[in-house]
C-alpha cells in the first residue's frame, strides 16, 4: 500500500480554480448537512416521547419559512451555477497561442501526435507553461481523456472531434486515464503525461529521427487521395478553394454559415453531403472507411496550413464570409 492521498496533485493553470470551487461546495455541504443533522438530533432528543399519551399541538406550516428556505438555497445555487459556468467556459476555450496535439483513442491505448510530427503512445510529453490544445477522437468506442492533476476530462467520441486544453504548471509525471468504460482492458488504457521544462522539451523534441510533420503527411495524402483534382488553388476546380479556409465562416447551400474548424473539415471528408458550400454541387464522394482517423487529422492539419498565396488580395473562396462566427469558434466540438 502506498500512502493515503486526500488531495490530487495540482499541476495545471485551472486546477487551483477548480479546487477553489470544489472546496466552496464542500463548505456549503458541511454547513447544511451538519446544520440539518444537529436540528434533527436536537428535536428528536428534546421532544422525545415521554408518555404514551403525549399529544403535541398542531403546527400547520409557515409560508414565510417555506419562502425563506426556498429563496436562500436558490440564491446560493444561482451563485454556484454562475461560478461553475464561467469556469467551464474557461476550461472549454483554448487560448489562441496553444499548440495542438492530436489524440486518438483506440482500444486500449492513447495515440498522440505533436504539431511537429512526433508520435507517442500512452505517454505525452509537454512543456510547462505552454497552453496545449487537444483535438480528440476515437477509432472505435467512446473513451475519455482524463488527467486528474490537470482537472480536465473530455470524451473521445468516434466520428467527431472534441477539444480540451490545459497549461501545465509544474514539471512532473501525471496519470492519464481513460474515464469512459470501453471494454475488457478499460482500466489498462492508462498512461502518463510528462511535463518538462521548455528547454528539456526542446531537447526531447530534437531527439530521435526527424519525424514527418502532420502537414507534410497530409499534403501527401491530399495528392494520393486525388483531393487536389477538385480542390484547386485557382478556384477552377469542382470543389471550393481550401487556401485560407481554416477558421473562416463558410456560407452553405442552405443559407446558414458555419465556421471551418476541425470538426467541419472532418465532417466534409467523411460525409461531404452534410454541409455543402453555397454555389457548389454535392458531387464529392464520401471517404468514410477509406481514411483512418490519423490520416484525417493529417489532412485537417494540411488544410489548416494552407494560406492564401501572398500578392493576391482577398480571393475569398466562393461562399465564404470573412467575418468570424463568434458563437461558432467557441464551440467545443
Amino acid at each position: 500500500m502506498k500512502g493515503l492521498p486526500l488531495l490530487p496533485e495540482r499541476a495545471s493553470s485551472i486546477a487551483g480554480e477548480v479546487d477553489a470551487l470544489f472546496f466552496t461546495l464542500v463548505a456549503i455541504t458541511l454547513l447544511f448537512s451538519v446544520g440539518i443533522a444537529i436540528a434533527l438530533l436536537y428535536f428528536a432528543v428534546r421532544y422525545r416521547r415521554r408518555s404514551e399519551d403525549d399529544r403535541p399541538g398542531e403546527i400547520h406550516g409557515s409560508l414565510a419559512l417555506e419562502l425563506v428556505w426556498s429563496v436562500i438555497p436558490l440564491a446560493i445555487v444561482v451563485v454556484i451555477f454562475a461560478w461553475g459556468a464561467r469556469l467551464f467556459f474557461h476550461i472549454n476555450r483554448p487560448p489562441d497561442d496553444a499548440m495542438t496535439v492530436s489524440v486518438v483513442g483506440k482500444r486500449w491505448m492513447w495515440k498522440l501526435q505533436h504539431p511537429t510530427g512526433q508520435r507517442e503512445i500512452n505517454e505525452l510529453h509537454v512543456p510547462a507553461g505552454r497552453a496545449v490544445r487537444l483535438v480528440i477522437t476515437s477509432e472505435d468506442t467512446i473513451h475519455s481523456f482524463f488527467v486528474p492533476a490537470f482537472r480536465i476530462k473530455k470524451d473521445a467520441v468516434p466520428g467527431r472531434y472534441t477539444v480540451a486544453w490545459f497549461r501545465a504548471t509544474r514539471p512532473g509525471t501525471y496519470h492519464l486515464f481513460c474515464a469512459e468504460y470501453c471494454g475488457t482492458e478499460h482500466s489498462k488504457m492508462i498512461g502518463w503525461v510528462v511535463v518538462m521544462e521548455p528547454e528539456q522539451y526542446a531537447v526531447w523534441l530534437a531527439g530521435g529521427p526527424a519525424p514527418e510533420s502532420p502537414e507534410k503527411f497530409g499534403e501527401k495524402l491530399f495528392v494520393e487521395l486525388n483531393c487536389i483534382t477538385c480542390h484547386r488553388a485557382d478556384s477552377a476546380g469542382r470543389g471550393p478553394v481550401l487556401q485560407g479556409l481554416f477558421g473562416r465562416g463558410v456560407r452553405l447551400a442552405g443559407g446558414e454559415t458555419v465556421t471551418a474548424d476541425e470538426a467541419y473539415i472532418r465532417e466534409s471528408i467523411v460525409t461531404p453531403a452534410a454541409k455543402v458550400v453555397a454555389g457548389y454541387q454535392p458531387v464529392m464522394p464520401t471517404y468514410l472507411g477509406q481514411v483512418s482517423e490519423e490520416q484525417i487529422l493529417a489532412l485537417v492539419a494540411y488544410i489548416q496550413s494552407l494560406r492564401v498565396p501572398s500578392g493576391e488580395t482577398a480571393p475569398a473562396p466562393a461562399g465564404t464570409k470573412v467575418s468570424m462566427n463568434e458563437g461558432g469558434t467557441a464551440r467545443s466540438r
Binding site: P5, E17, F43, R48, G61, G84, R107, A179, R331
Partner: protein, 541 residues
Amino acid sequence: MSGETRALPKEHYLNDGYGWRSWLLTTDHKRIAVLYIVSISLMFVLGGIYAALIRLNLLVPDGSLMSAETYNRAFTGHGVVMIFFFLIPSIPATLGNFLIPLMIGAKDLAFPRINLLSWYIYVIGALFALYALLAGGLDTGWTFYTPYSTVYAQSNVVMGALGAFIVGFSSILTGLNFIVTIHKMRAPGMTWFRMPLFVWAHYATSIIQILGTPVIAITILLVALERVFHFGFFDPARGGDPILFQHLFWFYSHPAVYIMILPSMGVISELITCFSRKKIFGYTFVAMSSLAIAAIGFLVWAHHMFVSGMSVYSAMIFSALTFLVAIPSALKVFNWTATLFKGSVSWQTPMMYALCFIGLFTIGGFTGLFLATLGTDVHLTDTYFVVAHFHYIMVGGAIMGYLGGLHFWWPKITGRLYPEWWGRISGVLIFVGFNLTFFPQFILGYVGMPRRYHVYPEEFQVLNVLSTAGASILGFGLLLPLFYLGWSVFRGEVSSANPWGARGLEWQTTSPPPTHNFHTTPVVEEEAYDYTRPPKEAALV
C-alpha cells in the same frame, strides 16, 4: 399494547386460500405486493452478490483476484439487477401496491388483473436478464453505451437488453394502475389534499413511469436492432451518432432516479409524522414538491454528458435546470426537520431509518450539486465521486426508505411484529457500514480514480480497502432483516391492528387486512396526519 397474547383476525387476505393457485392467480393487490416482495428480494440478493464480487476485486490494486472479464460482468450485473429489477420496482410495486388502495379507502387497484399481469411481465423480464447474466454474462455496464454495446461488446447484450425492455412494461402498467386508482377510487371525503403524502409521491412517480419508460424501451430496441441487423442508428461507422444514444438513454434514466427516490420520500413523510405524532409541516409544499421534482426531472438529462463535447451553451441550460431540481428536494428536507419541532418523537426502528434517510439523502443531494456545477463536474464525472454520490441517493435514500417502510408496515402486511432489537441493530450496522463503504469513494473520486476500473494505481488502495471493509458490515446489516423478518412471519409476536398509533386509513382496518380491505367503506372527515387526537383502534373492522 397489552401483555396478553393476541390472535390474528379470523379472516384476512393471507388465510384466504393457501394453494399455489390462490397466489399465482390472485388479483388481490396485497398478495401481488407480497409476490413482488419475494421476487425483488431474490434479485436484491443476486445484486448484492455482484456487489460483493466488485468489492472483493478492489481489495487489491492489481486485479489478481478475478479476470477483467469477470469484473466487468460483475459491475454490469450489479447495475442491471439493482436498477431495473430492484430499485425501480422496489417501493411502488411492493409498499405502493399494498398500501395505495388501503390509504385512499379502496377495495383494490383500478385494474387488478393488469396488476397481476405486471408481476408476470416482471418475472419474464427477470428471466431474460438472468439468462443473459448467468449464461455468459453482460459486460456493457448498465448504461449500454454505444457503439460499445452495439458493435464491440462480446457478451449477451441482446438478451440483457430484452430483459430491461420487457420489465419496463411492468413498470408502465403499475404506474398506469396507480394513476387511475388515485383519480377514480378515493373513498368519500378523501379529497386530493387529504391524501397521505405517500400517495402524492406515488402519483408523481407514476407520471414518470408512464412518460419515461417508453423512451428507454424504444432506445433499447434500437440498440438490439443495430447489434443484430447492423442498422446505423448509433454507430458512426454506419453514419449513426453515439451521442444520440446517450440523450435517449438519459432521457429515461435520469427521471428513473426519481422513480427510485420519490416513493422513498413518500415513505419518510409517513414515518416522520407517525413517530413524532405531528401533522407534516407544510403539507402542500411537500406534496407539490414531488410533482415539481417529477416535472423538472425530465429536463435535466444531459447533465450526464457535460464532457461528451456538447455545446457549452446547452451545458449551461442543463446545469441551471439541475440546480433548479435541488430546490424542491431541499424543501422536503426542511419540512421533515420542522415536523419534529415540538413533536413527541419515539425512536423505533422505522424512525431510525427515516432519520438516517434524511441525513444521507442530504449528503447525496449536496454532492449532486458538485456534479451539476459545470466547472467541477469536468473533473469529477466518471470517477468514484459519482459512484459515491448516487449510492448515497440510491442506498442511503431509496433503500433506507424501503427498509424503514417495510418495518413500519410489516405488522400491517404480516399481522406480526418484527423483533425491535434486531431491527435497531441492523439499522445501526447498515448506517455505519454504508458510510464506511461510500464515504471513502468521494475522496477516491476527487483524487482521480475512474469508475469501472478492474485494476488501479497503488495509491488508491487504502481507500478501497476501507470501502470493502465497510461493504462487509453493510452486507451483514442488510442480510439480518432477511432472517429476522422471515422468522417473524411465522414466529413474531402478533400485532394489534394499529401498533404505532398511526392515523392513516390503512391502520383503521385489521392487520393483516381482510381480502377486500374494509368491511364498510370508510368516510374521510379529517386531514391527513391529524395526530392531535388518539387514533380510533381499528374502527373499520
